[in-house]
């Protein structure tokens, strides 16, 4: 193991402060819910074409069937998606069509719990070192450890993006820079042993490639620990500054390995595979304990919650089971920067890739926009008299009036991909799709910073996303 280089970071980005309503430390384990809502549709990429798309495996169960925790209830080995597991044991009471929180409609399997939490029995391999890469891949696929992010894990099946053998670097993304998200930190502290073993498993499944760990520089204890626990030549730790969006695959790979992912592409195109901490821990559970991926750590936080904390939740737990809003606010599924607002907490549940759920208070009216000294305000500029060390105010306010672009250039300065965000957005708005492509619209990682910093409150990222959708539509 080696710690590589000094502190690395990237051009652009923004250091968010510490916001009020952040999850308090120590992980809470939430009991299995009475009712689980499991959408089948997943985000993925079309193989070989690298176009982000949706895949929906076929349901294997019917209404009335009894299922066990961890049982596969839907799979499609041809499509680019991971099998879907029952996350509680009980009876399938309905399979209905619903709007997926991130758009498009999806089949949702609804399971009513029998309160026993019976798990399926799978083989466990206390000694995994003898297993071949193919066997490991198959186990990981069947337990749903594949594709926690957008990208599938390579396997002997068709559900991986990467061709076996084309991967040279396994990158463990252990840095979370988005506001209100720090579930991985808890996981690293609590499940350190599993993490270390999980990394070994993932590596072995990829044919013993190099491992790179990107981690916040402010966790020296963990860095040291990794150093003592993985003393081999194949593991490199990269301490990183906690600037958003360092955890984005494209940005991470560029920072630590100097690999540039093509616009709209995926890391496997440059020979790298990015997994997060959750995935490494899940790999341990899958291989050594025979437990499929049915629960995950979610940062449940925000100012409108009484008890912000990191929670271990079953996938499919309806949000209103564990979210108690203390006052009127909006709940955002999937992180404040790129998530979606949830209107009805009863019908939306924790998804397999939900890292964060944030409930923010609405702002209140102030007499003037300029009288406030702003000791606790977060801004890209320094127009507020921020006192370092205080937590920052977080609400879902726009904090300004909609104005025409004043060409301040902030969106240029923060863009981690070095794009010209408002120029692209303008072209996208006017349907000049050729110009959009020329400006590399596909390189946008949708980090949301351009919308965040804009003093004219232009939803720059949204316009870019709409542009991408128009292009996708045009290309069929």
């Amino acid at each position: 193991m080696a710690v590589v280089g000094g502190l690395s970071t990237f051009k652009g980005g923004h250091y968010f402060g510490d916001f009020e309503g952040r999850p308090k430390s120590d992980l809470q384990v939430f009991r299995p819910p009475k009712r689980a809502l499991i959408p089948l549709r997943q985000q993925g990429f079309i193989r070989g074409e690298h176009i982000k798309t949706w895949a929906e495996p076929k349901a294997l169960v019917a209404v009335g069937d009894m299922v066990k925790t961890g049982q596969i209830i839907a799979r499609d080995d041809e499509a680019l998606c991971s099998p879907v597991h029952a996350t509680i044991s009980g009876k399938v009471t309905a399979i209905e069509s619903q709007e997926h929180p991130f758009g498009e409609s999806t089949q949702v399997v609804i399971i009513e719990s029998d309160n026993k939490d019976d798990w399926v029995e799978l083989d466990n391999h206390a000694d995994f070192t003898g297993l071949s890469a193919d066997t490991l891949s198959q186990i990981l696929y069947e337990t749903g450890v594949t594709g926690l992010g957008l990208e599938g894990f390579p396997s002997a099946f068709n559900s991986g993006m990467a061709e076996p053998g084309s991967i040279k670097h396994l990158v463990i993304n252990a840095i979370q820079t988005e506001p209100f998200v720090d579930g991985d930190e808890d996981l690293i502290y609590d499940e350190f042993d599993k993490l270390v073993t999980g990394i070994r498993i993932l590596r072995q499944a990829l044919g013993n490639v190099e491992v790179h760990i990107g981690i916040g520089w402010n966790k020296p204890r963990i860095i040291e620990e990794i150093e003592t626990r993985i003393p081999q030549e194949w593991c490199y730790v990269h301490p990183l500054k906690d600037k958003y969006p360092q955890g984005e695959d494209e940005v991470l790979l560029r920072t630590i390995l100097d690999l540039s992912v093509p616009a709209g592409g995926v890391p496997s195109q440059v020979g790298a595979l990015v997994c997060d901490v959750q995935q490494a821990v899940a790999a341990y559970d899958a291989v050594l304990e025979g437990k499929p991926f049915v629960e995950r750590v979610v940062s449940v936080s925000g100012t409108a919650l009484q008890n912000p904390s990191n929670m271990k939740l079953r996938i499919g737990t309806p949000l209103n089971d564990f979210i108690k809003l203390s006052e009127d606010g909006s709940t955002v599924l999937g992180g404040v920067m790129r998530g979606v607002k949830v209107a009805d907490l009863k019908v939306v549940s924790v998804l397999r890739d939900t890292k964060s759920i944030v409930a923010l208070k609405h702002p209140r009216k102030a007499l003037t926009a300029v009288s406030e000294p702003g000791f606790r305000r977060d801004s890209y500029t320094n127009v507020y008299a921020v006192i370092p060390g205080l937590t920052k105010i977080a609400d879902d306010g726009l904090h300004g009036m909609d104005r025409a672009c004043v060409r301040c250039g902030y969106c240029f300065d923060v863009c981690p991909q070095n794009l010209a965000p408002i120029t692209i957005a303008d072209h996208a708005k006017q349907d000049q799709l050729e110009d959009c492509k020329e400006l590399d619209i596909g390189a946008c990682v949708e980090c949301g910073l351009c919308s965040y910093v804009c003093p004219s409150k232009i939803p720059v990222m949204t316009l870019i996303q709409e542009g991408k959708a128009k292009i996708a539509e045009e290309e069929g």
Partner: protein, 382 residues
């Protein structure tokens, strides 16, 4: 503390509701009176503007800065300059500023009412920058003509703040420079602090006077003294700003403080202010060494005289009319610095910086196109 906050929010709610119903009422009346609704809306949005709007699309967390906060910063920086101007030239300065605001805002309001677009904060900045860049003796009717020209021709015919190509305040000043060159370039006053007086309060300078006495001798600016008489103004006078010149442009000390505020808060990009000053200094020095007969005064002198620093701090940094990319900003700043030095020394206009900025503004669209940032994404492998 919590009680105080609640009080504040409730008061804000009440005032806003009041204004809102007033606006609705006007709108219902329709006709000519109904047109005034945009003014009430302007007061609500642009003047007060402590909004409680919520975000509609991701990201649901947004920067605390809004346009009001953004636009107030240059005005904050101008307040010490304004005080300095009063100190140097008396309270007439306030009248000049007052007239500018009255006519500038009026022109904006008329357009807002006719074109039904919303009032924007920009005009408040424009007026301040325009007023402080005028000579102390300027006739008030000229002040009014200039600012109306600036708002109408410089901004509104382009479509309002954000769409104008030329810096609005500079358009007004350039218009005056061309139309009334005598008033704009020859009638400089000695600062009132020069007046020998036995009064024990004489250190208050212009704060004791409305204006210089009408028969006060006109003098020349340091640039003119240098150009026509080869006379060097002492460094300290230049630094503190005790010299003839436009109302707010003279004090380098206050400019430095202003730079700290504006550049420090990221409202002005250092790539514009600092690079433009360095460019003026470097080119000034270079040409001075090369052709000393034509290019009088060394680099430092070039930087400290005329409106160079004022324009570098407040005019070139106008976001609407400068480049968006970082590279573009640097090129623009170097270009404007070079033009300033050339125009000052090779043409009859001592205040070269005004035209330098106008010419610079013309290059912005081209520079923007040329300096588009290059995406970090890799080439697609086939």
């Amino acid at each position: 503390m919590k009680r105080l906050q609640d009080l504040h929010h409730n008061l804000a709610d009440k005032i806003d509701n009041g204004l809102h119903s007033l606006e609705e009422g006007l709108r219902k009346k329709g006709g000519f009176v109904g047109r005034f609704d945009v003014i009430v809306e302007g007061v609500r949005d642009a003047v007060l503007g402590g909004t409680n709007k919520t975000v509609k699309q991701a990201p649901y967390l947004r920067d605390s800065i809004g346009m009001q906060r953004y636009m107030i910063m240059p005005i904050v920086v101008c307040i010490p300059l304004l005080l300095m101007a009063i100190y140097l030239y008396g309270w007439r300065t306030m009248v000049v500023v007052g007239v500018t605001y009255a006519f500038g805002v009026l022109a904006e309001l008329i357009f807002v009412m006719v074109r039904k677009h919303e009032i924007t904060e920009g005009v408040l900045v424009t007026c301040m920058l325009y007023a402080l860049f005028l000579p102390p003796t300027i006739p008030l009717w000229m002040v009014a003509v200039g600012i109306v020209f600036a708002v109408v021709v410089g901004k509104e015919i382009f479509g309002g703040t954000g769409y104008n190509i030329f810096n609005v305040a500079i358009v007004g000043r350039a218009f005056l420079l061309i139309s009334f060159p005598v008033e704009l370039t020859t009638q400089w006053l000695e600062p009132l602090t020069f007046a020998a007086s036995s009064d024990s309060l004489s250190w208050l300078g212009g704060f004791l006077h409305f204006a210089s006495s009408p028969d006060a001798a006109t003098t020349a600016t340091p640039l003119q003294l240098m150009k026509f008489e080869g006379e060097v103004t002492p460094f300290l006078d230049l630094f503190l700003g005790i010299r003839a010149g436009s109302l707010g442009e003279s004090s380098m000390l206050l400019m430095l403080i202003g730079t700290a505020i504006l550049v420090g808060s990221k409202i002005a990009d250092w790539r514009l202010t600092v690079v433009m000053m360095l460019s003026i200094g470097a080119f000034g020095q270079f040409f001075n060494l090369l052709i000393p007969d034509v290019f009088r005064g060394d680099g430092l002198f070039m930087m400290m005289t005329g409106g160079a620093f004022y324009a570098a701090l407040l005019h070139i940094t106008d976001p609407v009319t400068s480049c968006m990319s970082q590279k573009g900003k640097i090129i623009l700043a170097i270009l404007v610095g070079l033009l300033t030095v050339l125009i000052r020394n090779l043409t009859g206009y001592n205040e070269g910086v005004t035209f330098a900025i106008l010419i610079g503004n013309m290059f912005v669209p081209l520079l923007d196109r040329m300096t588009l940032p290059k995406s970090f994404a890799g080439e697609a492998k086939t």
